[in-house]
């Protein structure tokens, strides 16, 4: 919007005076800090940046950013952000929400925002639980989850947010977690720099209602064995001495194998730019929950027409071919008669 150069800023400039009201120890704090810290290096201005959210613990996020912010209603933030993005392609728009907000009540808006590919970066804080309503199972909770609304265990098969996003034609899909600031920042930066809609699933610990849900994979001591870091152009390997790897087996699924001299050459080389989402989807199915080795990083990053830009092109084309709108001509555009 403004033409002057991006001024030098610090984390403090991006921090609003509002005191965060999350529970002490919540994973949201580390995500907030990561983002506040990275903003000065993003090459964007505070006044051109908008955080949009729905309802939930994560949805309080905009209040803590010293940017423009819109805390809306449960589930609707992808739709609201899409309208804003279409009307104002000059803005940097981030959407923040939890798994309940985005995948339950807002599931419909999420998939449609993703398929349309307007320029919004969606940060999905996945803690596999409803926090603000004090601990009910969410659409990402594991089957059998014991909560107040499921005292005998939940029956619902959870969503895999990455699989869902790939199925919804998302042009940028990534996953990270709240225990690794650098990784978060790297993935979120890529999501922002991507033209079009991006979805970043962030594993986030709710220390009150679902403490340690991701500890088996995100705890420092476990990461090497349990997180499969996807690096574009490199073989997908992980574990001590990169002794394990991923290949596509004869039935077309991704499979974790111990790397041997025989199979080493057939290991998958990660191509985040592959337009066909089949391999990205296969990777998303490697893990059925945060207790198995789980891929993190960018699953898919492809170019696709950006919605707001395409809208603007149609407007420009109409103005070129029909001339700028003239109200008098419009009102006389149907058959007229004179009395």
């Amino acid at each position: 919007m403004t033409d002057v150069a991006v001024p030098e800023t610090t984390k403090a400039d991006w921090t609003s005076p509002e005191e965060p009201r999350w529970c002490p120890g919540c994973g949201d704090y580390s995500i907030l800090t990561a983002i506040q810290m990275m903003m000065p290096d993003m090459g964007i201005k505070r006044e051109d940046t908008v955080f949009v959210s729905g309802i939930g613990c994560a949805a309080r996020f905009p209040f803590y950013m010293n940017t423009y912010g819109l805390h809306s209603i449960h589930g609707r933030s992808p739709a609201i952000a899409t309208g804003l993005a279409v009307a104002r392609p000059d803005l940097n728009i981030f959407v923040v929400g939890g798994d309940g907000d985005m995948l339950s009540i807002g599931g419909n808006h999420l998939i449609h925002a993703l398929r349309r590919n307007a320029n919004i970066t969606i940060l999905l804080f996945n803690n596999q639980i409803y926090g603000l309503t004090k601990g009910q199972y969410s659409p990402t909770s594991e089957v059998g989850k014991i909560t107040k609304t499921s005292p005998f265990g939940s029956l619902d098969e959870p969503f895999n947010p990455v699989s869902l996003a790939l199925g919804a034609e998302t042009s940028f899909v990534a996953r990270t977690h709240d225990m690794d600031r650098k990784h978060m920042q790297s993935v979120i930066r890529k999501a922002h720099e991507h033209k079009g809609a991006g979805l970043v699933e962030i594993f986030q610990n709710c220390n009150i209602f679902n403490d340690g849900a991701f500890a088996a994979i995100t705890k420092k001591a476990n990461r090497e064995d349990m997180l499969i870091d996807l690096v574009h152009g490199e073989q997908i390997r992980f574990g001590v001495d990169k002794a394990r790897g991923v290949l596509i087996n004869s039935s077309g699924s991704a499979e974790i194998v111990d790397v041997t001299a025989d199979n080493q050459s057939s290991l998958m080389v990660h191509d985040e730019h592959a337009y066909d989402p089949a391999l990205a989807f296969a990777l998303s199915r490697l893990s059925s929950g945060p207790y198995e080795p789980t891929p993190v990083g960018v699953f898919r990053s492809v170019e696709r027409p950006e919605y707001a830009e395409e809208t603007a092109k149609q407007l420009a084309h109409a103005q070129e071919t029909k001339g700028a709108g003239d109200l008098d001509s419009l009102l006389h555009s149907m058959p007229t008669w004179t009395i």
């Binding site: 905009p62 109409a318 109200l327």
Partner: protein
């Protein structure tokens, strides 16, 4: 051929004519009615139309449920309704005759497509005997014309296959009716050529059928009188014919120009509102952004997002959509952002009568949100006036930073009337300023932006993203004047009060109640709102013609009410409130003014007839209501 020319029938003048075209959904009755309307409008008649079609795109052929009708009134003077009883019914099949006959005036004219009255169609319509032969129509002037046969015959030379040719029979009917009422034919021929220009065969068939219908009238010697309705003495100027939905769409484009803002329409297809989205989507050269959302909620959500970004934003829908949008409208209300919600009301509840008119969303527009959330409510009162109603709703939304409910309905949406095209230079400037500077100081004396600090209209600043120095957060949580979240009990009371006061204060900024007649001198006051205006005016004229003392007060603003309404109602001896619901406005004025306003409710999917209003006035005068 003999050289004896057919006798030229006498031309008799009519001051008004009500025509009803009825046929199967696939018979092209809406097109036929539309075309007859246009021919009459360009001739200079005043017109009012009432298209009525089934909810199904193609209901079972030949059945009563599949009957599609189009009624229009044309007159040599100013009229306000599509007429009560048709003078002439054109029935393309037995079902149309059966379904529509009871509307026809006693002794009225019926023209039927005789070819359609075969055993199968008669049975589908539920006729045991062919009504064309059993004398049951003796009280009417019946003309049975083999429209299909003649149409197929004349289309032989065009090379069109008989099955295709048959579809042109509506143009035969149009040609015949055009002859009977002395409508000029050139415009219709040109229209056919233009409308079907990509299908030369269809052009040929339709023209042949239209000409054949016209020629049939001339040569069949069935009529010794034809009729003419002279041009009406309307205000001089350039006219065009608009439906309410077209006028609404153009009103949005105009409002954007008058506000000097880009417009954004977020919407989801729903009958009978969809045509507005269709129309606005055409006008991208005005910078109009249209967004067909995944659902009603996303339609209003996207519009709200655009409003937050500085667009003049609209969402269009009907009752079921308003129900879904309620939570987002409530958010817009507490955010205090401009937004116009257009509700093209239809029969409810639930899916109800989706293609029929009703005014039963008034209470939902007023109160259909959780919490204390008053919103301005504006109602359009004629099809063409929808144009100005959108501009007015936009003006209020922008000036007071509030969502505004604009109520139209199926009758206004689909009905058309001639419209004296306004001089755009006379349209109001509705532009407002965005906030660009801090408006307060923080505790340390530094410049600060208080996002809920109010102006003289109690409106808060509209500071859009991209404005340096005014970065702030807004949301659905209660906040204080600074914009910070506040759970303070007194603050919530104060904010609730001020939001209500803001809306109430708009009463000083809207036109007075529309009044016709002298209220103090009248024995009964008819109070109406929105689309009933035409029916009430028409019914009242009849009562006045009988020497009855009646006045009409009409509302285009329902929240807040115009500031003179209380005095008007207090002055009235008796008040009746005809509305296409079961008494919603009457409840509102009773609650607000403690007056004995009697509801005259109707929910039959159709507007009031003038006769119904006339009867209601008489009943009130007789003390029956």
């Amino acid at each position: 051929m003999t050289d004896t020319a057919a006798p030229v029938p006498e031309v008799r003048q009519l001051d008004t004519l009500v025509v009803r075209f009825a046929g199967d959904s696939g018979d092209g009755m809406q097109l036929t009615g539309d075309r007859f309307t246009s021919a009459s409008a360009s001739f200079g008649n005043d017109i009012a139309t009432l298209p009525e079609y089934p909810a199904e795109i193609r209901a079972p052929q030949g059945t009563l449920g599949g009957v599609s009708a189009f009624q229009l009134q044309i007159a040599d003077h100013s009229i306000t309704t599509p007429g009560d009883a048709p003078n002439i019914l054109i029935a393309m099949n037995p079902a149309a005759l059966k379904k529509e006959l009871n509307r026809l005036e006693p002794g009225g004219t019926i023209i039927v497509n005789e070819d359609a009255f075969d055993e199968r169609n008669l049975k589908k319509a539920g006729y045991l005997e062919n009504p064309l032969n059993d004398n049951s129509l003796d009280g009417y002037s019946l003309f049975a014309v083999p429209m299909t046969t003649i149409t197929k015959e004349v289309c032989k030379d065009t090379g069109v296959k008989p099955r295709i040719a048959e579809r042109s029979k509506n143009f035969f009917a149009l040609g015949l009716v055009s002859w009977l009422y002395n409508r000029e034919t050139k415009g219709t021929i040109e229209w056919i050529e233009n409308k079907f220009k990509k299908l030369p065969e269809v052009v040929a068939a339709n023209k042949a059928a239209f000409n054949a219908g016209h020629a049939f009238g001339e040569t069949a010697e069935l009529w010794d009188i034809t009729y003419e309705v002279r041009p009406a003495k309307l205000d001089p100027g350039v006219y065009t014919s608009v439906t309410g939905n077209l006028a609404t769409a153009w009103g949005m484009v105009a409002a954007g120009q008058l506000a000097k803002l880009p417009i954004f329409l977020g919407s989801y297809p729903i009958t009978p509102a969809t045509d507005i989205l269709h129309e606005v989507a055409k006008h991208k050269n005005f910078g109009a952004r249209t967004f067909q959302a995944e659902d009603e909620i996303a339609g209003v959500g996207a519009a709200l997002g655009a409003a937050y970004g500085g667009s003049l934003a609209f969402t269009t829908t009907s009752g079921p959509g308003v129900a879904l949008k309620g939570e987002t409208i409530g958010l817009a209300m507490i955010l205090e952002l401009p937004l116009v919600i257009v509700d093209v009301q239809r029969g409810g509840p639930s899916t109800g009568l989706p293609t029929k008119t009703e005014q039963s969303d008034l209470m939902m527009a007023m109160y259909g949100r959780h919490g204390e959330s008053p919103l301005p409510v504006v109602a359009a009162y004629t099809a063409s006036q929808c144009f100005h109603a959108v501009i007015e709703a936009s003006r209020i939304a922008l000036k007071y930073r509030t969502p505004v409910m604009l109520l139209t309905d199926g009758y206004l949406a689909n009905g058309s009337e001639p419209w004296l095209i306004p001089d755009t230079a006379t349209l109001p400037d509705i532009s407002v300023d965005f906030a660009t500077e801090p408006n307060a100081q923080d505790s340390e004396g530094n410049p600060a932006f208080h996002s809920y600090k109010r102006d003289e209209n109690l409106a808060r600043p509209w500071a859009i993203p991209g404005t340096p120095g005014l970065e702030h957060r807004v949301g659905g949580l209660e906040k204080d004047v600074t914009g910070e979240i506040s759970y303070d009990p007194q603050n919530h009371q104060d904010m609730t009060d001020v939001r209500a006061a803001k809306v109430a204060g708009i009463a000083n900024d809207i036109p007075p109640t529309m009044v016709s007649g002298d209220i103090g001198e009248s024995d009964v006051l008819v109070l109406g709102w929105g689309s009933t205006w035409g029916s009430i005016e028409s019914g009242m004229k009849r009562a006045r013609a009988e020497g009855k003392k009646v006045a009409h007060a009409h509302l285009t603003h329902i929240n807040p009410f115009p500031s003179d309404l209380g005095a008007i109602l207090t002055k009235a001896k008796k008040i009746i409130v005809p509305e296409l619901n079961m008494g919603q406005l009457s409840k509102l004025v009773r609650a607000e003014y403690l007056v004995d306003a009697k509801a005259v409710g109707k929910v039959m999917g159709q507007p009031f007839t003038a006769a119904e209003i006339h009867d209601a006035i008489n009943a009130a005068l007789a003390g029956d209501s």
